[in-house]
């Protein structure tokens, strides 16, 4: 473990869906400079965990700390430092790649148009800047979404299966980006069923946090007591 305080801390996180616990007593610290792959078989709750960490879902027990402060108190700062890329790419099919990126640039505030063009070139979409996105293939569409990484200033990247639909060279480029982000002091949380080729990759297996009968009762009591 590093000496610096954890960027993101999960304490006793537990999550219930359909009257069944996906994981429980999940304790973990994530530090600047790490790339963490979240593992688990289909249906183990990876997507659910990432949506919680991104602040999209609020349906969980336990606490999350951002730079040692409860997330509730630092929601704004956290939102400023977060980039979330879910299962859905968040790309408007009627707009061009450039127009899509321009909106994302506004979400994060102030990025020059030239940087957007550069970002598209980095994901091999030079020449497609002004093609409407409904004309792109599955992999090209994902590349548009991934172009956001190039101009993001967020410290934490939360990526749900970003390698889906990417070809070999696309995978290698994305891996390089993750490495660079970690080296620059960022944190990457990523799920994937493929092996990720990143030195010093941290693994978090959701199967390590099974449900314990005692804990269930304590939640029931907290809820009904």
């Amino acid at each position: 473990m590093t000496a610096a305080p954890a960027l993101l801390e999960l304490r006793n996180l537990a999550c219930e869906r359909d009257e069944r616990y996906l994981f429980a007593q999940l304790n973990a610290n994530f530090y600047a400079g790490q790339v963490v792959q979240i593992l688990g078989p289909n249906g183990s709750g990876k997507t659910t965990l990432l949506r919680i960490l991104a602040g999209v879902s609020k349906d969980f027990y336990g606490d999350i700390f951002w730079q040692s402060q409860p997330l509730k108190d630092t929601a704004w700062e956290y939102a400023n430092d977060l980039l979330y890329l879910g299962h859905l790419p968040g790309i408007k099919k009627s707009l061009t790649p450039f127009e899509n990126l321009r909106w994302y640039a506004a979400v994060q505030g102030g990025v020059a148009d030239a940087d957007l063009i550069k970002a598209l070139a980095q994901v091999q979409l030079a020449g497609y800047e002004n093609t409407p996105c409904y004309r792109l293939s599955a992999g090209q569409l994902r590349r548009v979404a991934l172009a956001r990484l190039a101009f993001s200033r967020a410290k934490v990247w939360v990526l749900d299966e970003p390698f889906t639909a990417l070809d070999k060279s696309g995978v290698a480029e994305l891996e390089a980006k993750l490495i660079a982000h970690a080296a620059a002091g960022g944190l990457v949380l990523v799920t994937s069923h493929q092996d990720i080729n990143v030195p010093n990759l941290q693994l978090l297996n959701l199967l390590d946090f099974p449900v314990d009968a005692q804990l269930l009762n304590s939640h029931e009591d907290a809820a009904y007591g």
Binding site: E19, D59, A223, Y224, G225
Partner: protein, 256 residues
């Protein structure tokens, strides 16, 4: 610490166990009042000069009309409490109240039209009062439909609470505008209320019926809420004990 009592109030289990004791009393009160009022009103109150016996439907019609309105506010307020203090019980009350309210407005509309046939000679009349009740029933329908449309229970609760609240803002507006619409378009050729120079001998049974229906409504609301509690908490230990017939629930209730 100050909020302790509130959270106690918010505990479904506390509610379930407390109301256990109330139920018989409410039941006795409701049936007693309704019987007395019903027999008095239907059997002993004098016949109306103009409407003959058909006016007696008033003893159901008017009390239910009053309650179906208060029911909306109960629903909206419990929704608001649930949203603000993030408690579970109020949402259950809200969910239980919506279909009851819809049922009540339907009873008002039905008894009203049955009454309308002999008095006005038509089943339906676009009177301001009737119209606003029709709209009220739509508001209920909306809340129920939204509640049922969501798969996720929390989302369903919060979404329908928001809708109920938005509806509350609108209810006075709706009433005002419908009233205004009616007076603008038509000089009142018939009036439902207003000529309330009603004979006291007709009025006393009406009061009894109104109180009786309120108690009855409380009873039904509690029963629905209890069913909802059991449905939602079916996994928790105390419900399992309850269903399996363990008799120690009372002791535990006192501890917690």
């Amino acid at each position: 610490m100050n909020w302790q009592w509130l959270h106690r109030l918010g505990s479904p289990r506390w509610f379930y166990e407390k109301t256990n004791a109330w139920l018989p009393w409410l039941m006795v009160c409701a049936w007693g009042l309704l019987l007395v009022g019903g027999i008095w009103g239907l059997g002993f109150a004098p016949e109306d000069a103009k409407q003959r016996n058909s006016y007696r439907i008033l003893y159901i019609h008017a009390p239910v009309a009053f309650i179906s309105m208060s029911c909306y506010y109960i629903m909206a307020i419990s929704g608001a409490v649930g949203l603000i203090w993030k408690m579970k019980l109020p949402f259950m009350v809200m969910k239980a109240a919506a279909p009851i309210g819809l049922g009540l407005t339907i009873v008002v509309l039905a008894t009203g039209s049955i009454w309308g046939k002999p008095t006005w000679g038509t089943w339906w009349e676009w009177d301001a009062r009737l119209t606003s009740y029709l709209i009220l029933s739509f508001l209920y329908l909306g809340v129920i439909a939204l509640q049922q449309a969501f798969q996720n229970r929390d989302t369903a609760d919060k979404a329908s609470a928001i809708l109920a609240l938005v509806g509350t803002v609108n209810i006075p507006i709706i009433y005002k505008s419908v009233d205004w619409w009616y007076t603008l378009h038509q000089p009142a050729t018939l009036k439902i209320v207003g000529k309330s120079t009603i004979d006291p001998s007709m009025l006393y049974p009406l009061f009894v019926m109104i109180v009786g229906f309120y108690v009855f409504f409380t009873l039904v609301l509690i029963l629905h809420t209890r069913t909802e509690i059991l449905r939602r908490e079916s996994r928790s230990q105390w419900v399992k004990d309850l269903v399996l017939g363990k008799s120690n629930t009372k002791g535990e209730g006192a501890e917690s």
